[in-house]
Assembly symmetry: C2
Homo-oligomer: 667 residues x 2
């Protein structure tokens, strides 16, 4: 190949040698993958990828996603070579060092041009389905002159072994995402040895079984790579190109699991460079080769300026709307609509499940926020995620805004991340809260990347009832509250639900989890406030009438329990304040003075939540609380299968129990 395509060879060698040098300098990393896929990447960037390093946020660029994120030097090398401002040669030299943009795995936000954070395997390919859905939808909405691009993915054996990849592949196949093209780095090697020690799957057959267009090529032959991409673009299905490659190509570690990791031996590196015919010093790319790469980078400028010209022919209103949705800015009307809804429900005081409240909010929101895309992992009627106006997204209706994700919580979560990352859409998706467990891998990445994906998690406690403990979350609220940069909302009624949605829909850097009840709850916020009290995290919902001896803290469905206990305690002459705590994260963000006003020292405190205690210790024992005057009413273990009302009774989450505990604390 070197002899047949000398020019191509040296361009690809630039990626390979930068990888070798950076990994050697860091004394850690993964050399083999960039060395194996350098040919594919070179052809993709030279002949196909529509990108402009000078405008890395251009809305109509092709997206390039390295699902096999451990091969991060491939991305960094490509960005440096083609001239992305954020990735300088110094960044390459600082690979994996403190403060560098060139982290061990590609991190979204570190450098413009890194489309998503990858490393946890399978996430990238699952994100890409979301990217491609967003592209299809926006293409239908704005027309091909404004949106018409491809999503390219490099996935490794690890990505394809992870279950999430199946969810992604099947969803993409059903949705006929023709602008999605996946290169499988078929090198036959994993960390533990040959792939065949753990897998004999015929991957092309597997993709074909889910409706994909499939090709198999030599992943080092530039002519074959180019031809395959051309064929993939022509086909109406998503495309998988199986690229037979040699991991750590050209080194003595080629085709071995050693080649997967960090190749740092000086002699091995020297020998490998010699085999490439590469004579430049470490980190040096000869000027003619660098110039060829920069020319690839420059090529996209024309397309981008032509696109800008077309964009500028739009009306000012359309331009502003397009730019607004890509800035993830909510429409101005949102806050007034939310306020009006709050006012209505404070007056009418409906008794509905907060999952229904959520639907009521969405009925108001979706018509004025055309960028929302809703969905559910096959629990639409239970999650109440579908509103009248959305329409079903599908091959025959790309304008549809509701996605039937199938029974694929993890794939849904990762696809939603991909949609947010693509830009121009704002996804939310539902499942039962207990199945947070299935989606965790992607939910953590929402938080780590700082993308405002919205998770509609209904049936948030034993209130789920007869389906029993497998479906009843108990630890999940604490789990999610332990996760950095995640809003966990557990609204008590429709008003708080509307407030939580408002925060979630205006957040630009934090994902939101809405924990919603299955069972009906009374409206507790019957006095209208235009202020978003949920934004305070916790607030005084009902004040003690006499001397304040007890503070009851609760969230969600247990606020009703707290209110009932307050009635009992007040009747017994015990002044009782109720504090609603829809979001611990937001309360933590308030200043000390506010927190002290809500939770002064002195009164006994009881927290009530149909989950485990762990995340409440802070508010019970800290924030001026005291162990001797604190109690918790909630769950100590898993739930059970029985009607919901009985479960609350049996597990002691009742006003009577709260009242008894309060009296005991007061002695």
């Amino acid at each position: 190949l070197r002899a047949a395509h000398p020019d191509h060879w040296m361009k690809a060698a630039a990626i390979r040698t930068l990888t070798l040098d950076a990994v050697a300098a860091a004394n850690s990393g993964h050399s083999g993958m960039p060395m194996g896929m350098a040919d594919v990447a070179t052809v993709l960037f030279e002949k196909h990828l529509r990108f402009d390093p000078k405008a890395p946020r251009w809305a109509d660029r092709d997206r390039f996603i390295l699902s096999a994120g451990h091969g991060s030097m491939l991305v960094y090398a490509l960005m440096y070579l083609t001239g992305y401002e954020d990735i300088t040669l110094q960044q390459i030299k600082d690979f994996r060092q403190w403060g560098a943009r060139t982290a061990g795995h590609p991190e979204y936000g570190h450098a413009a041009g890194i489309e998503t954070t990858t490393g946890p395997l399978g996430q990238g390919i699952a994100n890409s389905v979301g990217f491609a859905i967003a592209e299809e939808h926006l293409r239908a909405r704005f027309g091909t002159s404004l949106i018409n691009h491809y999503t390219y993915v490099i996935a490794g054996d690890g990505c394809l072994m992870e279950g999430i990849s199946q969810e992604a592949i099947a969803l993409a196949g059903k949705q006929e995402l023709s602008h999605l093209i996946v290169f499988w780095d078929n090198n036959g090697i994993t960390i533990d040895g040959k792939v065949e020690i753990a897998d004999i799957t015929n991957q092309p057959a597997r993709f074909a079984a889910s409706g994909w267009h499939v090709q198999e090529i030599d992943g080092h032959d530039p002519v074959a790579i180019d031809a395959a991409i051309i064929a993939a673009k022509k086909d109406k299905r998503p495309s998988m190109i199986a690229c037979k490659t040699h991991i750590a190509l050209g080194s003595s570690a080629q085709d071995t699991s050693k080649g997967h990791g960090a190749l740092t031996d000086a002699k091995l590196i020297a020998d490998t460079k010699a085999a490439y015919g590469w004579t430049a010093a470490a980190f040096e790319v000869p000027a003619p080769i660098k110039a060829e790469w920069e020319a690839m980078g420059a090529r996209g400028a024309t397309a981008r300026t032509e696109w800008e010209a077309r964009f500028n022919t739009l009306s000012d209103a359309k331009k502003a709307d397009f730019e607004r949705i890509f800035r993830m800015e909510a429409p101005k009307a949102l806050s007034a609509k939310i306020r009006a809804l709050k006012k209505d429900v404070s007056a009418s005081a409906p008794k509905v499940a907060t999952r229904k409240s959520s639907e009521m909010v969405l009925e108001v929101v979706n018509p004025i926020m055309k960028e929302t895309i809703g969905g559910s992992a096959d629990l639409t009627g239970s999650n109440n995620t579908l509103t009248k106006d959305l329409g079903t997204f599908g091959p025959d209706n790309r304008k549809g805004r509701y996605v039937y994700f199938g029974i694929r919580e993890h794939g849904m979560a990762a696809a939603m991340n991909g949609m947010v990352l693509h830009g121009g859409v704002r996804p939310y998706g539902g499942t039962f809260m207990a199945f947070t467990d299935y989606a965790r891998g992607a939910m953590r990445l929402s938080a780590l990347m700082g993308v405002p994906t919205i998770y509609v998690m209904t049936h948030d406690s034993i209130g789920l009832g007869e389906d029993g403990p497998t479906h009843q979350p108990v630890e999940h609220l604490s789990m999610l509250r332990a996760t950095p940069n995640t809003y966990v909302f557990r609204p008590a009624d429709t008003v708080e639900t509307a407030e939580a949605w408002e925060i979630a829909l205006t957040s630009t850097t934090t994902p939101s989890v809405l924990a919603l009840s299955r069972q009906n709850l009374p409206t507790v916020r019957t006095a209208h406030t235009s202020t978003n009290l949920t934004a305070k995290g916790a607030y005084v919902l009902a004040e003690a009438t006499g001397k304040r001896q007890v503070i009851l803290m609760a969230s969600g469905s247990e606020v009703e329990v707290a209110m009932a206990a307050r009635t009992q305690l007040e009747a017994a002459g015990i002044g009782t304040r109720v504090v609603s705590v829809p979001s611990m994260e937001l309360f933590r963000a308030q200043d000390e003075a506010y927190r002290k006003r809500v939770l002064p020292a002195g009164p006994a405190r009881i927290a009530i939540e149909a989950g485990v205690r762990q995340s409440w210790d802070w508010l019970l024992l800290g924030e001026r609380g005291r162990e001797a005057k604190a109690a918790f009413v909630g769950m100590e273990g898993f739930g059970a299968s029985a009607p919901a009302e009985l479960l609350f009774e049996k597990f002691g989450i009742t006003a009577a129990n709260v009242t008894a505990k309060a009296k005991a604390l007061l002695g």
Copy 2:
């Protein structure tokens, strides 16, 4: 079919009508699935399943796993009809009620004969791979006269859409698990509508791509069902039988998503029974039909008594060993071996990573506990899970005790659950701790079922270093500690690692997570104690020499930091106790007197752990602690990509920082 096979029809109708009656009485549940799969289940139980309702724990029984757990009435009906003691008619009548064994989803432990808890979709089929691995291994170990049975699974569309099923299918295919037979309930319906709204996958092609034997049949034709099972048993591959069925067969809700749920309408039920030709009263099975079912149940007694006769020809020692491993009892030698190892390492005081410590323990344990089966999700060299003597489990070596699970954390966890549930083996498996996120669905089920699966989670903090925040757990310790019935061990050195392993290997009802360091740690337990101090959960590792003013609490790699801070504080004349906290769950289980001895009121407290604070609030602010005299040194957000030592420095997890905070608390 009713006309062609009247006998079969009425037997199957018994399942269908019991389902209709039980769901109607509960006013909740899922009618359609048992109604659709009644024919397959009837043929399986009548012609193939090797079982004895009077001996539901018989080691060599066939296992029947309902992966589509929402169809729980299928299992309950089968158990009642064939005469399992635990499932009486009253239990059927109490379906989904408080205290009943007939929970909404099948719950392991509720009734002998329920092989595993299902409901979270895909878990059952993934468990079944573990069941089949255990069977293959024990068959090789004990011979076909003692172990030679099948694992039968019913999986639905939901199971097959969940990513975990791909991990299971691919692993089973690679492992050529010929005694695994999966019936796919191909009814084309999910909660949201037709399967095709979310999936167009050709499931037979997908299974075939991973090396399965595949058949497609009419799932209501008893002759076809029988023939397919016969063919499946003959084939050397795992077998998938695609059963085309009608959900809610015979009712007006047949073939609709309404039929998936609870059919409770009296007229619908009456009409359906009429269509079946069923005239008996609610919950009544005519005696001749019940007798036929009981005859099926009685059939297995002969096979079972023959098996017992063969078993009784074994030597007493072999019998005892067989019974011991099925009782999940550790060998007597274990405790002495652990003690000897502890004594050695207390003396030699190696400085090794606790993942290496874990390997040192396994090197001692595996040779004396032949029932252990180790494995890793493609991180063998990093998790240190492989010891010399194990051998690789595979089609050519069923005696091998090490499983290369592939890059499949969720599938691994569920397979391990299946192995424990099968009995006779004790699995442990490794991955990076951050990928707990991928395995959560199955890890929660270990806890809920109360099975002692062992998770070897290495690289348990920012100590992982350059791979960066995607690979660095910060919330996971709190997440796992929030989960009921889960031991979370974070040992500080080799001695604590040995103690943690001893507890994990002798636990019979609680899973264990071992959180282990990547980086080397000094031996802190240099004074040998024969007592297992880790079993106390927390204990005084180093006492203050002067007046006790400070208590430093830490786990794992941060115990070293605490000890260094103690040296600094003592040098400054501040008496400092160090409490090692390898397991919060076990400390919580100690009596108040012990807890008070370890954590008396008075001294300032600082907790040190390279994770988030949440689970420490209890020990900082509670247990006689006070907010004004408590501080935490750990992580507030996600980690970063850089060398580990620098990360500890940058995130302030250092002795100097602890010392400064202690001094500040003392004023």
